[in-house]
């Protein structure tokens, strides 16, 4: 693959190359960033079509902002996390306003293994519970515990202090536990 040539090139340098009209930079950025944006959207929304829409929209914004990108001001990934998180929040808000029952069920990626089904149900329950959280709490919890980012980066993405991130994730986690408390059996948790 010719993209190996860009292995040592930073994201923002690639973006400059892209803005200068290098089609290989477009391919390299697509391979590097699109799966990340899609994964984040998929984990937040649980629906492949919706996640593709969000990721495509976020990447389109990146393509359009590329000529004006100022190197060194922000990490491309931080910017992308923020855009995807905001787009997902908008979608979840609309879904919540329409009908919570119409939220699509998660896909079962692998065929009918019982354990996978239960795991899928747990993921659906977790996703539903996350959808019930206030927007900022959900964003913080997803970025911290599902995307696995550090508090300083989350603070940058959400444009708040690290203390505020800690507070949001702690409150979000407690709220999740409270929401899931009513669904113990459904989740396969029996006593203890």
């Amino acid at each position: 693959m010719p993209f190996d040539a860009f292995a040592d090139v930073s994201d923002d340098a690639l973006l400059v190359l892209y803005a200068n009209g290098d089609p290989d930079a477009a391919r390299a950025l697509n391979i590097r960033l699109t799966p990340r944006a899609f994964g984040q959207a998929m984990r937040m929304l649980g629906d492949r079509a919706e996640a593709e829409d969000v990721a495509q929209d976020a990447m389109l914004r990146l393509w359009k902002i590329a000529p004006d990108w100022r190197r060194g001001e922000a990490k491309v990934t931080t910017w992308l996390y923020r855009v995807v998180a905001n787009l997902c929040t908008d979608r979840l808000r609309k879904q919540r306003n329409v009908d919570i029952d119409s939220v699509p069920e998660p896909e079962d990626d692998r065929d009918g293994v019982e354990g996978d089904m239960q795991n899928a149900a747990r993921m659906a329950a977790l996703r539903d519970a996350l959808a019930e959280l206030p927007d900022r709490q959900r964003q913080a919890v997803v970025l911290r515990h599902i995307e696995g980012l550090g508090n300083p980066e989350i603070a940058e993405i959400m444009e708040i202090s690290t203390e505020a991130v800690e507070s949001l994730t702690a409150r979000g986690k407690r709220a999740l536990a409270a929401i899931l408390a009513g669904r113990r059996e459904e989740l396969g948790y029996t006593d203890g």
Partner: protein, 124 residues
Amino acid sequence: MAEMDKKTEDFDLDAMFADMRTQDVVPAPDFMARVLADALDAQAAAAPVTVAPRPPSRLRQLLAAIGGWPAVAGLATAGVAGLWIGVNPPASIMTTAESFLGTTVTDQYLVDLMPSYEFAMAEG
């Protein structure tokens, strides 16, 4: 607070988070192709368009031929001076014209465009 922490542990939220984190979420190849198509379209749209310089207008060509606006100023001055000489020719010019043409220039060859002006000049 302690009770809530216990609840969190009961559900093993961290394990659930980890399960979600490791979910298989590989984007479909056709989706990747769509995003790449967007990228290449946006790149083409943003590329600087090389516009051929427009040919200069006839007025500009004429200006360039005579040396630009300073030349036009000189030309205008010369034109006004010529008009003035035509309207109110100095006596020496009349004499030169008579000697050149070998005849007497009579009034019938002169067009008195502004007689009243001449009068005004005579009055001072």
